[in-house]
């Protein structure tokens, strides 16, 4: 057993932290949060040059063939700094789907372009039910003359506004089993009938409503097999859930660091507020939350990397980490007091992230329902 980072991982972590501190200051984060695109093409291409987008892709597709654990280390740092943009959509939701289920042709076409930062993908899964189960997929794709016509509304689709291609999860067959009959299509975002509207959200992340109004796609745009898309979605959701946990661990660590530093400097009653036990105990609880989240997340990420059975571990990681991140940012706000309640201060950026991360891919209650099943209840 070894719970430490490898030398390579430690280097990646340090490099990422330094790079982001320099290239993605909070001034830029705010600016991007307030913009419609939500990302900086300059920063995006610099990240691509560092090999981040292709980190886990095989070399033959322009990647550097590192493992999933390495990706989570990187995501932890991206969460620490908050990096607005479609990295998660392009690499985790899009890239990993094509990597695990795409045809050779699709891999050759898409992966190198994702790795080089030329192409942005987005995953359109959830619909107005806002739920991550198969039964909620109502968008239909009807076969017609060797083509498919997609019709339906996708909601809470991350980064669809800047995506070149949208992975659309649609129903191609109606059976009693909702998990049967789902197909994934790679849809050119500029196709006629695709209409994307940006939603205004708490975290100012770029979630969209995407309407597919009789969008025609070819049979070749299917990822994986027809009607057998749900296992692919499930697989990528599991990986994405761990990846999101890693982001949260980084974000929680940042909120803790900020609060602790402030508590050491802020003087009231003639002494730093960090010398008061009430504040110390907040900080101790936050540190414990961060620490617990980190190891439970690493464990789940390690299982992904090793290809071991992981449904239980992933649900445990998300159930715990998403609530822990919420608690940590809330305590941080309490420590910052009034100054934290301003737009000028940075801490609310993390508080907002924590809320969005808590909900995406199923909140703690959703995860606990999975856990109960996994425990045989």
């Amino acid at each position: 057993m070894d719970l430490g980072l490898s030398e390579e991982q430690a280097m990646l972590k340090e490099l990422a932290r330094d790079f982001l501190q320099k290239e993605c200051p909070k001034r830029l984060v705010r600016q991007l949060d307030e913009s419609d695109e939500g990302y900086s093409s300059e920063l995006w291409h610099k990240m691509a040059e560092l090999g981040w987008m292709g980190l886990v892709f095989p070399e033959k597709y322009g990647g550097s063939e590192r493992n999933f654990l390495d990706l989570t280390i990187l995501l932890e740092e991206m969460g620490y700094n908050i990096v607005p943009g479609p990295f998660f959509s392009a690499v985790v939701l899009g890239g990993l789907t094509i990597l695990t289920a795409g045809s050779e042709e699709q891999k050759i076409e898409f992966l190198p372009k994702i790795a080089s930062g030329e192409m942005i993908l987005s995953l359109a899964l959830t619909e107005p039910t806002a739920s991550y189960d198969a039964a909620s997929v109502k968008t239909k794709a009807i076969a017609r003359n060797g083509e498919y016509v997609i019709k339906g509304t996708k909601l809470f689709v991350l980064n669809a506004n800047v995506a070149d291609y949208i992975l659309c999860v649609a129903r191609t067959k109606e059976t009693k089993n909702p998990e049967d009959g789902i197909t994934i299509f790679l849809v050119d975002a500029k196709s006629p009938g695709v209409k994307c509207t940006l939603l205004k959200t708490l975290a100012r992340d770029k979630q969209c409503e995407v309407v597919f109004d009789n969008v025609t796609v070819s049979e070749k745009s299917i990822v994986g097999e027809r009607d057998k898309g749900w296992p692919i979605v499930k697989d990528v959701l599991q990986k994405a859930t761990v990846a999101k946990c890693a982001e949260m661990v980084g974000g929680a660590q940042a909120a803790l660091d900020m609060a602790v530093n402030y508590a050491k400097e802020r003087v009231q009653f003639g002494r730093p507020i960090g010398s008061f036990q009430a504040i110390q105990h907040y900080c101790a609880n936050m540190a414990t939350d961060v620490s617990g989240s980190r190891f439970i997340t690493y464990k789940a990420a390690w299982k992904v990397s090793e290809g071991l059975p992981l449904a239980l571990d992933i649900a445990i990681a998300k159930a715990w980490t998403s609530e822990a991140y919420g608690r940590v940012t809330l305590s941080a706000h309490q420590i910052f007091g009034a100054i934290g309640f301003t737009m000028d201060h940075d801490i609310h950026l993390y508080y907002r992230q924590a809320k969005a991360a808590e909900i995406i891919f199923g909140d703690a209650d959703f995860q606990r329902a999975i856990i109960a099943r996994e425990l045989g209840l």
Binding site: K264, F295, W320, D365, I371, L377
Partner: protein, 396 residues
């Protein structure tokens, strides 16, 4: 990063598990004493079992071979501790104190003679120590202790009162912290002594704990003469020795493993029990509660694993142990309280009732878990440690 045990470690786990299945006495299983519930009968069973355990080298597996240890790796010790706790093996809290605090302190600070006299006997399970730390006015503020040890000729003479001495009435020796320099600042004048509990002048008065059992004692020292050679380490440096000893082996894996077993029993109960015509396991609130317990316990387990892993890397956890302790204490209290909610009225019944379920463990745990998070440094003290040692927050 690698979360799996080696094949050799897995083989070891199976060996331990098999051995425990055979060796835990039937009578112990019937008595089923939880923490702080030992009786004289269970104490005797535990002492016997501990000697058996020592014959395998598993009572003090970390010790050097010359003292009867196995120099077992940290990971195997973690596995051993996990299996012992999960199987509810007969080990009392004082074994923990004696094996994991006292003897390692003697090995670190004691004289050659002390090492020879005590360490091997401890590894054999022949002697048990109680702790003489707390006093009526020195609990969390332990360094303000007032029990005096005065050097007279070739002896020390001890006067004062200790309290919360767990199993002081059954222990052979007391690991005593006493003030040797009343004029120095409070951390500077403390020394550590080994005191034979049969020494004249010692009076023991029972304190009956919340489970209605005699586990704690007040111990009075009236002109108790002990040989000078029973001083451990440097005179007046006892506080620092004591602080170092607090960091020994406190991964709290035992608590997490024992709690895991309770959670599994609650899950089983929920699956087998029908309420209002529905299996309890179908109730979404109960499902949610049990899932949350599983989440918390897994986090606790990872925290404990981290401590063992740090030791295996030659690192010295300090505030990390405090995190682990605070965390598991709260998980155990949560488990006990959730357990009562799940069991309903049945969660109130004590062992002697024919209606009791789960051997009344939940009812007992509701009471016993109050001590976890208080003894050995309250959660508030632990949080101070995390804040100051771990996060560098200022004292003033």
């Amino acid at each position: 990063m690698d979360f799996k045990f080696t094949e050799d470690e897995e083989v070891f786990r199976r060996e331990v598990r098999q051995w425990l299945e055979q060796e835990i006495p039937q009578r112990w299983i019937e008595l089923a004493p939880g923490i702080w519930e030992e009786t004289e009968e269970s104490w005797a069973l535990a002492r016997e079992f501990q000697r058996k355990l020592s014959q395998k080298g598993w009572l003090a597996p970390s010790y050097p071979k010359e003292y009867g240890g196995l120099e077992l790796s940290h990971m195997k010790r973690l596995i051993l501790a996990e299996e012992l706790a999960y199987s509810r093996a007969p080990l009392s809290i004082e074994v923990e104190v004696t094996v994991n605090w006292v003897a390692p302190s003697i090995m670190l600070f004691g004289t050659e003679k002390q090492k020879k006299d005590y360490v091997s006997s401890i590894a054999k399970g022949d002697i048990i120590f109680c702790l003489g730390y707390s006093e009526p006015n020195a609990g969390s503020d332990l360094a303000s202790l007032q029990t005096r040890a005065v050097e007279v000729g070739d002896e020390y003479v001890i006067n004062g009162q200790k309290t919360w001495c767990s199993y002081g009435h059954l222990a052979d020796y007391c690991w005593l912290a006493a003030r040797t320099d009343p004029d120095a600042s409070k951390h500077e004048g403390i020394s550590i002594f080994i005191v034979d509990m049969k020494t004249p002048g010692i009076t023991i008065r029972p304190l009956i704990n919340i489970l209605d059992r005699h586990s704690f004692n007040e111990v009075f020292f009236d002109d108790v003469h002990i040989p000078k050679e029973n001083l451990v380490g440097q005179k007046n440096k006892g506080w620092y020795q004591l602080m170092i000893a607090l960091d020994f082996e406190r991964s709290s894996i035992g608590y997490a493993a024992a709690n895991q077993r309770i959670i599994e029993e609650l899950i089983k109960y929920a699956k087998e029990t029908t309420r209002n015509g529905e299996p309890l396991a179908n109730d979404p609130l109960i499902r949610n509660e049990l899932a949350q317990l599983a989440v918390e316990n897994e986090v606790a387990r990872m925290m404990a694993y981290r401590i063992a892993w740090m030791f295996s890397k030659g690192l010295h956890p300090s505030y990390e142990s405090s995190m682990s302790m605070v965390f598991i204490s709260e998980v155990m209290r949560h488990t006990a309280n959730a357990g009562v909610r799940i069991l309903g009225h049945y969660g109130e019944l004590d062992r002697d009732s024919k209606w009791a379920v789960m051997n009344a463990r939940i009812m007992r745990m509701c009471l016993s878990s109050l001590s976890i998070g208080v003894g050995g440094g309250s959660n508030e003290i632990q949080r101070n440690i995390i804040a100051m040692r771990g996060l560098g927050l200022p004292r003033k």
